[in-house]
Symmetry: C2
Subunit: 188 residues, 2 copies
């Protein structure tokens, strides 16, 4: 088997998610993932440190992308609008990945250790967003709370997007949730 | 040593937090905690299943208290006001415990495994708050987001209360943070 396989990473991810769903995360071995993908274990380890990294990529694309999207907002935007613009952009990252995301969600929810990892990743994302907002001159308290709101909206909208039987995109649910936050805060 | 020691639980908690701070959580044994408290290991295990439970009590008093406080709000209160009233009440639980809470925070932040546990507890608290709000007739999306806002305010206000060099109570910081959420959502 050659060193460079076309879309090896994507094939490994797909095989891993299938096996984790069918047999459980704990019960699946790297050898089985590689076999299902038609690749070698060596190729697996070229792309992932271990089988958990398939679910939680080391350099979190979500965090990198979200921080960039916050920084791309106009400098005079109110923090809530900066958050709204960044959430709108995040949809690009999820496009075409809803089935994979649904599968991943089922695996993570079924395993307490993976769920702890997931909520910790979300807490890290909130910290990164707060630092980014502070770097844009937002005050300390406002930055912490706007970041928490951003991650809350992301989480809730993401779940609604996964549960939606239709084919509306993530941005629809992000806007709906952020509007609901505005209404709630206004005492609706 | 007799079966009933006055305030054994409190003495064990104090001794454990001291030792976790001095030596690290991993390096501390139950025998050392009991010794520092002037009690037996048997007494420790009458109060705690293991040394982690000192930091994360099994039946979370915070969750029980918060759910009750949400349910005590007038039935016609807007969700954000229900949250505000419950956060005001939460201060009762923290009264006189700021030094212990500061010590605990230092221990939890220093240990990745304990931090994962902590953020998971906060996610559980948010789920419980959302269920409670739904039980009070709040819509699904509004309940999820109001619960996320509640936990975000609790977290941020708690940190500010711990960091405060003065002696303002938790309620002061909870109100300040919830006001900031209102201002942010209004586009300030």
């Amino acid at each position: 088997m050659g060193r460079w396989e076309p879309n090896a990473r994507g094939r490994l991810e797909k095989a891993a998610l299938e096996l984790y769903s069918e047999r459980g995360f704990e019960q699946t071995t790297v050898a089985e993932i590689a076999k299902r993908a038609g690749l070698t274990e060596r190729t697996f380890y070229r792309h992932f440190a271990d089988k958990r990294e398939v679910l939680f990529p080391d350099a979190s694309p979500l965090q990198t992308f979200f921080v960039e999207a916050l920084n791309d907002a106009p400098h005079d935007a109110a923090p809530i609008d900066t958050v709204g613009l960044a959430l709108d952009r995040i949809g690009e990252l999820f496009q075409g990945r809803r089935e994979l995301a649904r599968q991943r969600q089922g695996i993570v929810s079924a395993n307490p250790e993976l769920r702890e990892r997931e909520v910790t990743k979300m807490a890290d994302l909130s910290d990164a967003a707060a630092r980014t907002l502070r770097g844009r001159g937002v005050g300390d308290l406002a930055a912490s709370l706007a970041a928490e709101i951003a991650v809350a909206v992301l989480k809730v909208a993401f779940e609604r997007w996964l549960d939606d039987p239709g084919d509306r995109d993530f941005g629809h649910f992000a806007r709906e949730s952020l509007d609901e936050v505005r209404a709630l805060a206004a005492g609706a």
